[in-house]
Symmetry: C3
Subunit: 166 residues, 3 copies
C-alpha cells in the first residue's frame, strides 16, 4: 500500500502522514531524508523528531532512498518517508537523478505500508533562478509519477486532507 501525501510548506502534511502511520497499527520506520546543513534545517529536524513516538525506528538516508526502502520494508511494517522533496534536492545536487528511476521501480514491489511525503512547489510565479525552475519541474514530475502508482493520494492544506485518489 503506497500513500502519497502532498502539500505546501507548513501545510501540516508531515503531521497528517505521521497520524496515518500511527493509525496503521503497524510498527513504524521513519525514513528521514533531510540533512542538518545549517541551523534552520537543524531546528526543523529537531522539531520533527520531538513530535515522533519514541517507539518508532528512525533511519536517515539523504540519497540512496531506494536501497534504504528495500532494506527496511516488511509485510507487517509501515515506512514513513519524510520527505521526497529534500531527497530530490539531494539527488539533483549530487547529480544522481538516476535515483528517481530506481525509486519508481522498487516502490510498487515493496511489502507492507509505505507513506511518502512530498511538497507542492509549482503554484507560484515562475522562479527567476534556472536551478529553481528545473527543481520545480522535477518535483512536479516526481509527484505525478508517484501519484500514478500510489494507492492513495492526499493533498493537505491548513492541516486538513483532500483526497485525490483512494
Amino acid at each position: 500500500m503506497i500513500h502519497l501525501v502532498i502539500g505546501g510548506a507548513r501545510s501540516g502534511k508531515s503531521s497528517f502522514a505521521e497520524r496515518q502511520a500511527r493509525e496503521s497499527g503497524l510498527p513504524v520506520t521513519y525514513v528521514a531524508t533531510g540533512e542538518a546543513r545549517d541551523d534552520e534545517m537543524s531546528a526543523r529536524i529537531a522539531h520533527h523528531r520531538e513530535r515522533r513516538p519514541t517507539a518508532w525506528r528512525t533511519v536517515e538516508e539523504p540519497l540512496m532512498l531506494a536501497d534504504a526502502l528495500v532494506r527496511e520494508a516488511a509485510a507487517e511494517r509501515c515506512l514513513l518517508v519524510d520527505c521526497l522533496t529534500l531527497w530530490l534536492a539531494n539527488a539533483m545536487f549530487a547529480k544522481r537523478e538516476d535515483e528517481t528511476d530506481k525509486l519508481l521501480a522498487i516502490l510498487p514491489k515493496l511489502p507492507g505500508h509505505v507513506i511518502t511525503v512530498s511538497n507542492e512547489v509549482g503554484w507560484g510565479i515562475v522562479p527567476e533562478n534556472a536551478l529553481a525552475r528545473r527543481f520545480r519541474d522535477e518535483q512536479g514530475r516526481l509527484n505525478q509519477r508517484i501519484a500514478a502508482i500510489a494507492d492513495r493520494v492526499t493533498l493537505v492544506a491548513a492541516g486538513l486532507p483532500l483526497t485525490l485518489k483512494i
Copy 2:
C-alpha cells in the same frame, strides 16, 4: 461559528467570504487589517471597499486584532476579518508575535459569526529571502491552528470553493 477561508492571491477568497457574510443574514462588521502604505496597497483597499455593501460597519485594525474582535463581536453579528495575512505581516514587522496567541485564545470564545480570510503562501519554491521563509512558516502554522479550531474551512481557487471542513 468560525469560518476560515483560505486561498492564493487573486483566488476570489475575499469575494467568497463577503458572500458568506451577506448570506449569514446578520449585520456585518468588516474588520480591515491592511494599511495603505503605498499606492499599490491603496488601490487594493479602495477596490475592496467599493465592493462592500454600504450598510456594513467598517473597523480598521492592523495589529491589535484580538482586542478589536472582542470589542466588536456580538451574538447576532457577523465579523468578517480580511485578512489574517496582512495582519500577520504587521505583527511580525512590529515584533508582536504574541498577538497570534491572543487571537487563538479569544477566537473560540467569541459570540456570533466570525469569518476570517487568509492566504496560502507555501506552494512555491523555497524563497531565497530568510524573512520570506519565516513568514511563510508562520503563515502556514497560523492557518493550521485556526483551521483546527474553526467550524468550517473553505479553500478557494478561481473563485470556486472546495470544502476542507464542515
Copy 3:
C-alpha cells in the same frame, strides 16, 4: 461547453486536458499559445508536441486568441487551448490587455467544446518584482472570470483531478 483546467507548473494539467479532448470523441484543434523564444521553451513545446495525436490539427496563436477561436470553433469540434498563462504573458508584454475582454466576450458564444488550460500562480510568497506581482494579479482575475462562465472547472495536482465546478 467550456472546460477550464487549472493547476500548478508540472501538475499534469496539460496531460489531463489532452485526455479530456481525446475522450470528447470529437476532432481536435490544438491551439498553442507558446512561442519558442529560448531553448527551455523550445524543449517544452517539443515535449508537448510529441505527446499529441498526429490526427490533431495544430494552430499557433500567441496573441490574437479570440480571433483564432472564432475562426476554429465548430459545433462538432473540440478546441484545446494550451495555455492561457503564456497567452496572458504575451498580451501583457505586447500591452494588449484588451485581448482579455475580447476572449471573455466570445468564449460563451463559441460552438462545440472548448478546453482551456491555465496556471495557478498565486499560492506563493508575494513576488519582489512588481511585474511579477501584476502578472499574478491578472492571472488570478482571468482564472476567476473564465471559471465564472465555464461549465466545468477542474483543479489538477500530481496528475489527479479535483472538480471545482461541474
